[in-house]
């Protein structure tokens, strides 16, 4: 079922990772990304992988749940791996027509595979451990410097938090309409591409209508409560960067150093 897609969901909890400040977590995610892209050698990848496993353990999000998040991307990952495997030039091991398998290709494919998996696992941990509200709040604070330059940071953050808020609602709605049309004999699974695309009309039309209706209702509700954008708004709870956040920063800086070092050694 659609709702069983775990990627991007929030997994409520109270681990040290959940308690970190959202803005700090976003920055740390970028540090993690840089570490993945900096890694060149097997040793460096191993270091990042081990680190990923440890932070998943700390987060308290079950491994099964995290791994399930990779599922929607399996096709993409497989496609990239095969492409890299067959399209890289170098020492040929095996050749058939224009397809050839090379040592360099194999090495590169494995490297890309590791990279994508680590990227997805690491970054999805951000959404697993941060509620959508905290996340957009973090983005808003991170973008604040750009606000001085005229970027409507509050509005951007608000748009994002509304979008995130409605993802589960729309998935639920999709599921419901799909079932209602299946009860009328609609078939979403069989037939060729054209037939399948046509079969989506009875799903998409009601879905768009309900999304627009929801948007209008939400706009009215916000108007009624005198919402008027970012200026002069105050917060119920101000987020604060604490000692734990600095400590986490040091840990991630440590990871980066380790990767650079591992690149030199191995």
């Amino acid at each position: 079922m659609l709702k069983d897609i775990t990627l991007g969901q929030y997994f409520p909890g109270n681990s040290p990772l959940h308690r970190l400040d959202a803005m700090v977590k976003i920055v740390l995610t970028f540090v993690f990304l840089s570490a993945v892209f900096t890694a060149k050698t097997a040793l460096a990848y191993a270091a990042v992988a081990a680190f990923t496993v440890v932070i998943i353990m700390i987060s308290g999000v079950p491994f099964k749940f995290v791994v399930k998040g990779l599922k929607p991307l399996v096709a993409f990952i497989a496609f990239t791996a095969v492409l890299n495997l067959l399209m890289t030039s170098g020492t040929v091991i095996w050749q058939w027509g224009f397809l050839r398998l090379t040592y360099e290709g194999a090495a590169y494919a494995v490297q890309m595979l590791a990279r994508i998996v680590l990227l997805v696992l690491g970054t999805s941990l951000l959404t697993y451990t941060t509620s959508p509200i905290a996340l957009t709040d973090g983005i808003e604070r991170l973008l604040k410097p750009f606000g001085k330059m005229g970027l409507p940071t509050h509005e951007l953050a608000m748009m994002m938090s509304i979008a995130l808020r409605f993802v589960p609602t729309l998935l639920e709605e999709t599921d419901k309409i799909m079932k209602a049309q299946m009860a009328r004999g609609a078939d979403f699974q069989s037939g060729n591409l054209l037939k399948r695309a046509k079969a989506l009309i009875p799903l998409l039309v009601p879905l768009f209508i309900s999304a627009i209706r929801r948007a209008e209702e939400l706009a009215t509700a916000m108007d009624c409560r005198c919402y008027r954008g970012g200026n002069h708004r105050t917060r119920l709870s101000e987020a604060k960067v604490t000692a734990a956040d600095y400590a986490a920063g040091c840990v991630f800086a440590g990871l980066m150093t380790l990767v650079i070092f591992a690149n030199k050694v191995g």
Partner: protein, 277 residues
Amino acid sequence: MIIQAQNVSYIYSEGGPFEKGALKDVSMTVESGAFIGIIGHTGSGKSTLVQHFNGLLRPTGGKVIVCGADTLDKKADLKTVRAKVGLVFQYPEHQLFAETVYKDIAFAPGNMGFSADETDAAVRESAALVGLSETLFEKSPFELSGGQKRRAAIAGVLAMRPQVLVLDEPTAGLDPRGREDILSQIKRLHAETGMTVILVSHGMEDIANCVDYLYVMDHGTIAMQGTPAEVYSRYERLEQMGLTAPQVTRLMKQRYGVDVCTVEQAKDYILGVLRRA
């Protein structure tokens, strides 16, 4: 019997972190031609149960047999099952999509492989059954009023000519007048066609005077069953489950100690008492 549920359990997202048990050991039998009611407060599992009746959901425990086919059976033809058991979802007007009312009602018969003539006949017949005027056929379904939309959506399911019609809270969100209209239409449909009807509701007054047999659901189980009069007479138990018996039932029980469930029956009883006096 046409539908049989045997010790059915259902768990949403089984094995996941958001696993949620919705049905526990539910058994019920629906005879052909019956008019059955299912009531229970919100979240008691009514919608989950009725989605088992046409194979949209398959039990995670126990089994459901519809017109002789076990829905868990890999070889079972679910499309046929869905044609035989027409399921009208809650707020069915949210599924309308076609350019015209006619095309929307013709969607299901088209999917079920009806010929053009059969489809046309089925569309007109089902529109008449729900009291939808043919002058609306060429309108967009989105131009209709709330009550008309709902009728069009119900007609869209009836057009498959199902043997069983399951309606999930067909009166939710309608005004008293619209509610009365839809219910009397359903009653007439049952009387005229002899179709098996299963009516789901969270209110009691609604279905007191239509159904022959009533199931009461609570926390995913069947808490009570019997004729409406039998069920309503135990209104203390109903109140514990967050349901209220019709006011006339309470009044008659307290005043005369009899079990009735409609104003009609109460009137007859009181007239009888007065005549004897």
